[in-house]
C-alpha cells in the first residue's frame, strides 16, 4: 500500500487554479431517501439485446439521482439495440464494499461509478481501469464542455482515468429564516464569533443551533474542511495530500480542531447528533422541521428538503450562503473557497472485453450529460458539471438556488474535494474515525494530530 514512493497527483492544485468549478453529489453520499440494511443491492437489469454484446454498469440508488441514471441508460439502450448496457443498483455504503470486492475478484462491471480521488487512484494502481486520456484527445469537445475543475479528481499522475459526470454540489451553509425570525435573529453569522453568539442565543430559545448527522462521520468532516480552509488556506490540506511529513501539525489544524470542540462543548449541535445518520436524511429532518436553526450540508440536500420540508423551500424560508469566514482579519483562506466533490466519475474497467469497452465509450460520447440528461438534473435541483448550463435554469426559488450553486462553484478561488474522497481509503478511514472521536470529545486536538500524522502517505 505504500504510496510514499509514488508522487501524489496534485489534483487539488488543478482544481484550485480553475475558475469554474463544480461539486458533486454526496460527499459520501447519502442521498438515498431510504436506508437499507448493510449489503443490500437490487438488480434491475434492462433488457439485454442482441448480437453486439452487453456492457454492465453499477451505480447508486437514491432519488432523484437514481431515476436520472436509469433514464440515461435506457435511452442509450433504445438508441443502440445492438450493444446495450445492463445496470445494477446499490445502496451507497454497500456499493463501496461491493465494488472493491468485485474488482479484486475480477467480477467488476464494465462501467464503474465512483467518486474519483483517492479511490480512483487505488483502481489505477491495481490496473483496474482504462486510461481515457486518448479518448479525450479524440473527443476534445467532451473535455471542453465540462468544468475544468471536475477533471482534477479524475486525473492520476497526469492521465485521465474517469469521465467527470453528473452534478456539481458544493457544501452549503443553510439556515431556516422562520426560526431566525422566531428567535429574533436577523442575519446569518459572518464570522466564527457570530456563530458562537448565535449558538447561545438559539440554545436559550430552546432551538438547536446546528443540525448534524454525526454517526455518518463525513458530515462532521465538512465542518473541519471549511474551518481549516478559512483559517489556514488550501495549502494546509494540500500538504497532507502530498504526503508531507507531519503535515497535520500545521498550527491552523490545531486551531480548527479546538474551535470545533468549543462548538461541541457549547452545545452547538443538536442533542444526540452522534446517533443521527445522514443516510436516512434524519439530519435534514431535524433542520427542516425547525428543531435546528442552521445546517452545513451538501447542495444535494436541497431536493429532499423541497419535497419533504413543507413550505420551507417553496415558501422562500430557506436561507443559504457559503460558509462564513472564521476571522476576516486573520484568515489565510479566501472566503470564496468552497469544498465538496467536483463531480461523479465513470471509469471503464480494464478487464472488460473490447466490445464492452466500445459500448461504454459510445455511451460516454453520446448519452452521458446530453441535453435531456442535463434538463433532468436541472429539474431535480442540481447543477450538471457542464459549462453554460445556467442558461437552462428556471426562475423562482429553484432557479435562485441553482444560480447560487453555479456561481459559488464558478467563483470559488479554491474548490477542494472532500477529504475522505481525496485521500486513500486507509487514511480516510483513520480520518473519519478520529473525526468521530473529536466530536465525541474523546480525543484532544493534539492526540488527533498525532494519530493522523502517523498515517500520512499510507
Amino acid at each position: 500500500m505504500d504510496p510514499k514512493t509514488t508522487s501524489r497527483r496534485s489534483f487539488l492544485s488543478l482544481a484550485l487554479g480553475a475558475p469554474v468549478a463544480g461539486a458533486a453529489l454526496a460527499a459520501c453520499g447519502g442521498s438515498g431517501p431510504s436506508q437499507t440494511g448493510a449489503g443490500g443491492g437490487s438488480a434491475s437489469g434492462s433488457a439485454g439485446g442482441g448480437g453486439g454484446g452487453q456492457a454492465t454498469y453499477w451505480f447508486l440508488t437514491g432519488q432523484p439521482q437514481q431515476a436520472i441514471r436509469e433514464d440515461t441508460v435506457k435511452r442509450f439502450n433504445a438508441a443502440n439495440p445492438s450493444g446495450t448496457i445492463a445496470f445494477t443498483e446499490f445502496q451507497n455504503d454497500a456499493y463501496k464494499t461491493k465494488i472493491k470486492t468485485a474488482l479484486g475478484a475480477g467480477q467488476g462491471p464494465t462501467i464503474i461509478w465512483g467518486w474519483g480521488g483517492g479511490g480512483l487512484r487505488e483502481y489505477v494502481k491495481a490496473n483496474q481501469v482504462e486510461d481515457l486520456t486518448s479518448w479525450f484527445a479524440q473527443n476534445p469537445q467532451q473535455k471542453d464542455r465540462r468544468f475544468p475543475a471536475a477533471f482534477g479528481a479524475a486525473t492520476v499522475d497526469g492521465k485521465i482515468y474517469a469521465l467527470p459526470a453528473e452534478t456539481v454540489t458544493p457544501i452549503v451553509f443553510y439556515y431556516n429564516k422562520k426560526v431566525f425570525d422566531k428567535v429574533g435573529v436577523s442575519e446569518p453569522p459572518k464570522s466564527w464569533a457570530d456563530i458562537m453568539t448565535l449558538v447561545d442565543k438559539f440554545n436559550s430559545a430552546n432551538v438547536a443551533p446546528f443540525s448534524l448527522g454525526g454517526q455518518s462521520r463525513w458530515t462532521n468532516m465538512m465542518w473541519l474542511e471549511f474551518i481549516l480552509d478559512r483559517i489556514g488556506g488550501p495549502q494546509v490540506f494540500q500538504n497532507v495530500f502530498e504526503a508531507k511529513q507531519d503535515a497535520w501539525s500545521d498550527p491552523a489544524v490545531e486551531q480548527t480542531l479546538t474551535k470545533v470542540q468549543d462548538l461541541v462543548k457549547a452545545n452547538g449541535f443538536v442533542k444526540g447528533f452522534s446517533s443521527i445518520t445522514a443516510d436516512s436524511n434524519a439530519d435534514q429532518a431535524v433542520f427542516y422541521t425547525g428543531r435546528a436553526a442552521m445546517m452545513v450540508h451538501g447542495a444535494w440536500t436541497y431536493g429532499n428538503m423541497k419535497t419533504a420540508g413543507g413550505d420551507l423551500v417553496t415558501g422562500g424560508h430557506l436561507g443559504y450562503m457559503n460558509f462564513p469566514p472564521v476571522d476576516p482579519s486573520t484568515d489565510k483562506g479566501d472566503p470564496s473557497d468552497t469544498v465538496g466533490n467536483p463531480g461523479q466519475y465513470y471509469s471503464i474497467s480494464s478487464k472488460a472485453t473490447d466490445a464492452q469497452k466500445q459500448i461504454a465509450q459510445k455511451f460516454f460520447g453520446t448519452t452521458v450529460l446530453d441535453d435531456t440528461e442535463n434538463k433532468k438534473w436541472v429539474a431535480s435541483g442540481s447543477v450538471p458539471l457542464v459549462k453554460g448550463v445556467d442558461s437552462q435554469f428556471p426562475t423562482g426559488v429553484d432557479g435562485d438556488f441553482l444560480k447560487f450553486i453555479y456561481d459559488t462553484s464558478a467563483n470559488a478561488k479554491g474548490f477542494a474535494q472532500s477529504w475522505d474522497q481525496a485521500l486513500s481509503p486507509t487514511q480516510a478511514e483513520t480520518l473519519l474515525d478520529n473525526i468521530a472521536k473529536l466530536f465525541q470529545l474523546s480525543v484532544t486536538p493534539q492526540q488527533w494530530i498525532d494519530n493522523m500524522n502517523k498515517v500520512i502517505g499510507q
Partner: protein, 308 residues
C-alpha cells in the same frame, strides 16, 4: 466465524473399545460433513492466516510482507480497546441473559394457563433478523423523532446511541432482547427432561419452590447451562450485524468490538493484512474460550441425571 460444534458430553465410556468394526462405518459417514467443513472452515482459516503475513489492499496484487501486518495490529491501541469492548459485551450479555432465560425457561416448562400463548410472544424476537431489529431500535431510540419525543416522555428522550455508556447499554439490551428467547427455549427443553419424581420426592421432604429450583433444577441442567453459556460467549465474540447497523461501532469507538474492527480495517481502510491478523486473533480467542468452557463442564461432575 467460528463454527461451533455442540459440546461433546464427556462420559467415562467414550473411548471404550469393542465397537471398532462399527466405528469404521461411522467414519465413512462423517466424510461429507468433514469435506464441507474443510472447504468452508479450514481452508479459509488457513487463507486468512497466510493473508495476515501479507500486504494487500483487496484490489491489487498480494505481497508477502512478513510480520508487518502483525506489528501494525499489535501496536495499534485500537486492538486492546476492541478486545476490551468484546470482553465487556461477552461478560454483560452472559450476566444479563443467563438468569433471565433460565427463569423464563422454568416458567415455560410449567403448566400454567396461557403458557403457550405467552411462549409464542416470548419467541417473536427470535423470528426477526438482526438487521431488522437494529433498524427498528434505531428508529425507536432516535433522539428527535423516536419513541421518547413522540410520546413526550422525557426519560425515554436520551441520547441513546450518541453517548458512549448509553450506546453500550443499548447494545447489551438489544442483544439480550434478541437472544433470550433462544436460550429460554434451550432451558425449557432441559427442564422438561428432569424427572418429575425428583420434584415429588423433594416436595415430600418439605422443600419449597425456591429450594427445589436451586437444589434440583440448577444441578440437573448443569450441562445445558454450559451449552447455553458456550453459545452466548463464543457467539458474542462475533457480534457484528446488529452493532454495525445500530451504531457502526460508535459513538467514536465505544461499541467497536473485534469483529467490527476487523471489518473496518479490511473493507473500509483496505488493509487486508492487518484485518486478517485481527481475524486470526478472533479465532484463537474463540477456540480458547470454547475449550475452557468444555474443560469446565467436564471437571464439574461425572453424572448428570441423579436418580434417573
Amino acid at each position: 466465524m467460528t463454527a461451533l460444534a455442540p459440546p461433546v458430553v464427556r462420559g467415562p465410556t467414550t473411548t471404550a473399545g469393542g465397537a471398532s468394526v462399527k466405528r469404521g462405518a461411522v467414519t465413512w459417514m462423517a466424510l461429507p460433513a468433514l469435506a464441507i467443513y474443510i472447504v468452508f472452515a479450514v481452508v479459509p482459516l488457513l487463507g486468512v492466516l497466510v493473508l495476515s503475513f501479507t500486504t494487500w489492499d483487496g484490489i491489487g496484487s498480494i505481497q508477502a510482507s512478513g510480520l508487518t501486518s502483525w506489528r501494525r495490529v499489535l501496536t495499534d491501541p485500537g486492538l486492546p480497546h476492541a478486545l476490551w469492548v468484546t470482553f465487556k459485551i461477552m461478560a454483560f450479555t452472559w450476566l444479563i441473559q443467563t438468569p433471565i432465560s433460565l427463569l423464563i425457561g422454568v416458567f415455560l416448562a410449567g403448566h400454567q394457563r396461557y403458557r403457550e400463548f405467552l411462549a409464542a410472544l416470548f419467541f417473536i424476537p427470535l423470528l426477526l433478523s438482526s438487521a431488522a431489529i437494529a433498524i427498528t431500535y434505531k428508529a425507536l431510540l432516535d433522539p428527535n423523532f423516536g419513541l421518547g419525543p413522540g410520546l413526550h416522555l422525557a426519560f425515554l428522550t436520551q441520547d441513546w446511541l450518541g453517548s458512549a455508556q448509553l450506546a453500550f447499554a443499548v447494545v447489551m439490551f438489544v442483544v439480550s432482547w434478541q437472544f433470550i428467547p433462544f436460550h429460554s427455549l434451550i432451558y425449557q427443553g432441559a427442564i422438561r427432561q428432569i424427572p418429575k419424581s425428583i420434584y415429588e420426592a423433594a416436595m415430600l421432604d418439605g422443600a419449597g419452590r425456591i429450594r427445589q429450583f436451586f437444589s434440583i433444577t440448577i444441578p440437573q441442567i448443569k450441562y445445558t447451562i454450559i451449552v447455553s453459556s458456550t453459545l452466548m460467549i463464543v457467539g458474542s465474540l462475533t457480534f457484528f450485524d446488529l452493532i454495525f447497523v445500530l451504531t457502526e461501532g460508535g459513538p467514536g469507538d465505544a461499541t467497536r468490538n473485534l469483529a467490527l474492527d476487523m471489518y473496518k480495517t479490511g473493507f473500509q481502510a483496505n488493509l487486508m493484512g492487518p484485518a486478517s491478523a485481527i481475524a486470526v486473533i478472533l479465532v484463537l480467542v474463540g477456540l480458547f474460550l470454547a475449550l475452557l468452557l468444555q474443560r469446565l463442564g467436564g471437571s464439574l461432575s461425572e453424572s448428570q441425571l441423579e436418580g434417573a
